[in-house]
Symmetry: C2
Subunit: 336 residues, 2 copies
Amino acid sequence: MNMKDTISIGHGGGGRLARDLIKNLFLKHLNNPKLAPLGDSAVFELNGSTIALTTDSFVVKPIFFPGGDIGKLAVCGTVNDLSVVGARPLYLSCGIIIEEGFSLKDLEAITLSIKESADKAGVEVITGDTKVIEKATGGNIYINTAGIGIIENSIALGIDKINIGDKIILSGTIGEHGIAVISKREGFDFESTIESDCASLNEITQKALKAGCIKFMRDPTRGGLAAVLNEIAEDGSLDIKIDEDAIPVRDDVKGICSMLGLDPFYIANEGKVVIVAAKGDAENILRALHNDPLGQNASIIGEITGKGEHGVYLKTSYGGTRILDMPVDDPLPRIC
Amino acid sequence: MNMKDTISIGHGGGGRLARDLIKNLFLKHLNNPKLAPLGDSAVFELNGSTIALTTDSFVVKPIFFPGGDIGKLAVCGTVNDLSVVGARPLYLSCGIIIEEGFSLKDLEAITLSIKESADKAGVEVITGDTKVIEKATGGNIYINTAGIGIIENSIALGIDKINIGDKIILSGTIGEHGIAVISKREGFDFESTIESDCASLNEITQKALKAGCIKFMRDPTRGGLAAVLNEIAEDGSLDIKIDEDAIPVRDDVKGICSMLGLDPFYIANEGKVVIVAAKGDAENILRALHNDPLGQNASIIGEITGKGEHGVYLKTSYGGTRILDMPVDDPLPRIC
């Protein structure tokens, strides 16, 4: 990373540029044993309790989109970052930066959405902050939520727990969130309305944890499924084989992606989880997912095949095999 | 509050407009028993531990100013919000929103400043997030820090603990932070360089708590000393009498305020604390403050004189008495 350079939109994506920025700047200088390695939540002990802390800022544009809004996203996103480390989310903070000229009516709608989403996830917003910046377009709002949760039953997930033979489970169809936001932003008028999958994953992840031995979980947001699989492969020095036909993608999402030249594997989701499970427990966990409203389309999509080459290999629908690369930047900026 | 209205710069200040927004929108809709009442930290019990959680976003302009930068501010501000509820700060999260085109060199300088300030305060940044927004001026960065701390020794501060006769202590001179930022922003070339007082208050507040019975603490940031005193008066239905001559203000700050038509009582500080102490313990606490590098100019500035009228009365240097009002909006926007 050349320090003469400047920040580009890709530095905020879910791909290579963002990972390099985090590794070469933030992790380099802020390094400490607890620092959450590249995403999700940090975990620490406090007086005998295991606590998870996470933070996420939301800059999605437009702020209201089919299936959600920035307030719902801010709650679900942080609840999900806690959920995927096995924590039961408890409390959220909410820091709002608003542009001068922003509509109070919209701010109220967003606040109500935060409340509704928090109630649904069983968490409480207990502290907040508001800052106002000068007017630009008048329509910008940025929301940061930090979240705290408790990890019970000695759950300890980590990429280092993953073994050859472990199965990879995806909790449902991919691509809806990104397509819903981009459709609204660009004013596309598709026949079928695709809604964001934005949802809190705390219940479904707790059900999955009870159903069998889970090694690792991550929600495929920025960078999509491809980024999460590559993170697992890279950080764990693992080889992953994925079966394209096993990955659930809605036909309308496929169609729109094909029209726009996008690959659903790289599109952000906000209500899905990738689970790496012990081989013998995968079917049991899959059944638990199918019994949850958010897991109807859950599928075992692949497995850990080796250690050392650390790549993600996709068995395509046509019978061939191709490498599923880590995205470099983001195909869709300001998606969350 | 008329919902047809839009957000103004004053809604992000430390005065009446901001309080109304919080009360009529955020507290109204998000209401729950733990929600931090108008500032500072929320406090909750978890498995027998008393934990404080707080959040603050920083939008200061310019990002580098005499005595500090946005990174130092982001650490100190959140450490201070934990400190004033009596918590020992432990961990911070850090969510950064950066404008496309922002200098990587500046981002590195800010990251190093975060690290240095965190080390100095004895806290660790353990989780983070980065988002990038489209280019406007290319120079904007917004930092949110949430913080978690632990409250020990059964400390339980609150405005409801305050009694008639309690003394009000100010830990040092007021006005430097606001004047330092505005001088740099507007390119004023004052003879004496005034530096921001930006500092972490965790050590001095712990020393004060050990020295005697403290009822309540708050750091006078946005809205300045006047806002904090009015918040205490209003939220506690208390009458406060302050002695203008007892309030430490540097001569150069007084001079610049007078030139710019500003009142130092309303200017933001980032390294000061207002303490309400039991009458009999005030002198002891004052001595403890004087023994800390940040408390050299600490002073007993007034006392609680009654209940019911809930106003702040200032005995002026000229012998008269005037009401010290709650600010309506902020004389200096984007100061923190």
